[in-house]
């Protein structure tokens, strides 16, 4: 018997039809987790910008970079690394294909990553204000960018308050994952302790034991922290501190500091300044004949210092970086990154670009492994100690303080005759594995707050 409803097509209810429908429903139920995970996913409470920031087809990432001010050259490199990371996450690349969780491409958890960047002006307040706007207006799910550790400390504190994950990319102060550590803050770049531990044996071997060192120190958390770590690392080799000259960021004339250093009786000068300050102080140190009186070392090199100073000043000088494009012989993914970056931006990327790129890859991988953007789950994935194959080899985060375990390349400036082509400025002396130079957790001063803590 046909049961028909006027105005509709005829539908005949049969036993076979009911069985077919039942099988179909069961099959779709089985397939549902694969096709529409959000329907069956565990529901999480509201936290920060979650779930508001992931309800559409996109997710927002915020970049806070110093595009003006003393650290602008570093910030521009950093921003381009951020841009390339977003492009690779959305469109795929040889780097993301090598990371199992990101292999399928097409964004993060199927959502295209949208991004916004702002100029931090190398100052904490503009950085925090811009980040706050990205959180309130764009529901940013992740933030990155720093260069100045003071900015990193400000942004991770904001992340903790607003419950938005902050991936610190270029920040070396111990405090970032030490006394100022936050549950929502992660720092992939090696810290000052690691840089100091990496360079001390190399320099002690090259220059000798029981020397006196003078320090030109930028007067904020990065500089004072590096001073502490260097003096402790070199104490093992009998080195002592002759003088510590604290100079504010943006100092126009370092003469007075250099006069003190020249008169300090030191055998070695450590120039800890960064960016434009590093160039200015190095220029002025040359004019004061410091290089003839003592060995000159920039323990943490700015990415473009060689271009600004040249081989006559930096040839033969030792230093460290958090990443060096010459590492591509050891790490295949670095080769892909360098090639893609060069193709897009027409120069060889420096470590600021690499650190920002890698930080975003680490975040995306953690989200994919967590299967959700819900911050506590992403934090758990980041804290799991899972080793991600990246452009700096296998790297991971230490759960106790969120410090990245990442290698430190020790480099030496090339002399004029050794340079062959663009950016061929540094010789790789040694790559020190990150796990060998981590600060013992008891010494970091880090006590991670809970996810709920403001």
């Amino acid at each position: 018997m046909d049961r028909t409803i006027p105005g509709r097509e005829s539908r005949r209810v049969t036993r076979r039809g009911i069985l077919k429908t039942g099988l179909g429903v069961s099959a779709s139920g089985l397939l549902m987790p694969l096709t529409a995970p959000h329907v069956w996913a565990k529901t999480y409470p509201t936290m920060g910008t979650f779930p508001a920031g992931v309800q559409g087809k996109t997710v927002f990432a915020a970049g806070l970079f110093p595009l003006t001010g003393a650290y602008a050259s570093l910030g521009n490199d950093e921003k381009l690394g951020f841009d390339l990371a977003i492009e690779h996450l959305n469109n795929g690349s040889q780097v993301t294909e090598a990371v199992p969780s990101l292999k399928k491409g097409g964004g993060v958890l199927g959502k295209q990553v949208m991004s916004g960047t702002a100029d931090s002006q190398t100052q904490v307040n503009p950085a925090v204000q811009a980040a706050s706007r990205f959180i309130s207006s764009n529901n940013a799910m992740v933030m990155t960018g720093a260069i100045s550790s003071a900015i990193a400390v400000g942004l991770e504190a904001l992340g903790q308050r607003q419950k938005v994950i902050y991936m610190g990319d270029v920040t070396a102060s111990d405090d970032t994952t030490g006394k100022n550590c936050q549950r929502f803050g992660f720092r992939l770049m090696p810290d000052n302790y690691m840089f100091s531990q990496a360079i001390a044996p190399v320099l002690a071997k090259a220059l000798g034991h029981n020397l006196k060192a003078a320090y030109l120190v930028p007067d904020y958390t990065f500089g004072t922290s590096l001073y502490t770590e260097l003096t402790q690392a070199f104490a093992k080799y009998g080195w002592t501190s002759a003088t510590e000259q604290l100079a504010p960021i943006g100092t126009t004339d370092f003469t007075s500091y250099l006069l003190d250093i020249a008169n300090s009786g030191a055998n070695v000068m450590f120039n800890e300044t960064v960016g434009a300050d590093e160039v200015t102080s190095t220029k002025q140190a040359v004019q004061f004949g410091i290089m003839k009186k003592m060995k000159f070392v920039i323990p943490l090199l700015s990415p473009f210092i060689y271009k600004s100073m040249g081989p006559d000043v930096l040839g033969g000088m030792y230093g460290t970086m958090p990443w060096f494009w010459g590492m591509q012989d050891k790490y295949p993914l670095a080769k892909y990154f360098v090639a893609d970056f060069h193709k897009k931006f027409n120069y060889i990327p420096r470590f600021c670009a690499a650190q920002c790129y890698n930080s975003m890859i680490m975040w995306a991988d953690a989200v994919e492994r967590a299967g959700t953007f819900y911050p506590p789950e992403v934090i758990k994935a980041l804290e799991s100690g899972y080793k991600v194959d990246t452009i700096a080899g296998k790297v991971w985060f230490r759960a106790e303080d969120h410090q990245g375990v990442s290698p430190v390349p020790v480099v030496q400036g090339k002399t004029k005759s050794e340079i062959h082509g663009e950016a061929d400025n540094w010789k790789l002396v040694e790559i020190v594995p990150g796990e060998e130079i981590m600060q013992p957790i008891k010494d970091t001063g880090c006590h991670l707050p809970s996810t709920a803590a403001a």
């Binding site: 595009l67 003006t68 001010g69 003393a70 602008a72 050259s73 910030g75 521009n76 007067d219 000259q245 604290l246 100079a247 504010p248 943006g250 100092t251 126009t252 004339d253 003469t255 007075s256 500091y257 006069l259 003190d260 020249a262 008169n263 960016g275 434009a276 300050d277 590093e278 160039v279 200015t280 220029k283 002025q284 004019q287 004061f288 004949g289 473009f304 271009k307 600004s308 100073m309 040249g310």
Partner: protein, 292 residues
């Protein structure tokens, strides 16, 4: 307590930096004193001079040519800006002048960033500046920095002669005292204002050329100098050429000598002294009465 030798070398260093600040500030004070115009683009003009030096020295390796280029670039830029925009702001409130020159400053900085990037450019000091001068065994000082004192002094002297020993200078100084009266006497005030603005801008450009081998040449390099130049003008007295020289030397010495005792106080000290001057003598050390 620092040694006598260190104090002497710091005092000399303060003097050297002070002369350069004086040159930069003299341009600012001439413009401010004559036109009553707050030029926040003065630091960017200083930066343009440094970039002119970079381009010229990279291609022709001539310091004299670099000085000429620094002056010429600022001559062109300042004529265009003054005729095209800034003259309409002479009678506007100071906040309008501040905003328009601040905007121009940002545009100049970003234009340079667009063409040259944010990285510091390499500007080598001239070969005749290589070496160290031994001051009777008491202290040593880089030769170029000693020469900078002389070069800055020559330009300051030229400005002094222009201001105090020419009819143009007479008109400018009269303009500083009473702009309205100068106009009523039939002097072409518009032309005079243009010349004053150009001379002030060229002083900034020349200071940028002189300082380029001493500093990172980056688009933002003028910003800290602008602030220091304003401190110099406030201490020395608005519109006072002599005041800008004395103010420059005071600020240079403060920055340098405080570092010998406690570097942390170096920057703070100049603002402290500026505050004291503002409280005790609002017109500055050499400013004319009634001009604050």
């Amino acid at each position: 307590m620092p040694s006598t030798a260190l104090l002497l070398s710091q005092a000399f260093s303060g003097f050297a930096f002070g002369t350069l600040l004086a040159l930069l500030s003299s341009g600012l004070t001439i413009i401010f004193g004559t036109l009553g115009f707050v030029n926040f683009a003065h630091g960017a003009m200083f930066m343009l001079g440094a970039y002119a030096a970079f381009v010229v020295l990279a291609h022709w390796h001539s310091y004299i040519l670099a000085l000429l280029a620094g002056a010429m670039v600022l001559l062109i830029v300042s004529v265009v800006l003054e005729r095209g925009l800034l003259r309409f702001f002479y009678t506007r409130p100071p906040e309008d002048q501040l905003l328009v020159t601040f905007g121009l400053s940002v545009m100049m900085i970003e234009a340079i960033r667009y063409f040259f990037g944010s990285n510091s450019e390499r500007v080598a000091q001239p070969a005749w500046g290589d070496g160290i001068v031994n001051f009777w065994g008491l202290f040593y000082y880089p030769l170029y920095r000693v020469e900078v004192i002389g070069i800055a002094a020559v330009f300051l002297l030229a400005l002094y002669l222009l201001l105090y020993h020419t009819s143009l200078g007479l008109m400018v100084r009269a303009g500083i005292e009473d702009r309205l009266m100068v106009g009523l006497l039939g002097i072409d005030v518009r032309r005079m204002f243009l010349i004053v603005f150009v001379v002030g801008a060229m002083a900034a450009g020349i200071a940028g050329v002189i300082f380029s081998p001493l500093s990172a040449v980056v688009p933002d390099m003028g910003t800290p100098f602008l602030i220091q130049a304003f401190v110099v003008v406030v201490i020395g007295g608005l519109g006072s050429f002599g005041g800008s020289i004395i103010g420059g030397l005071i600020v240079g010495e403060l920055l340098s000598l405080t570092t010998a005792f406690d570097a942390a106080w170096s920057q703070a000290s100049i603002y402290l002294v500026m505050t004291l001057v503002l409280v005790l003598r609002p017109r500055g050390l050499f400013g004319a009465a009634g001009r604050v």
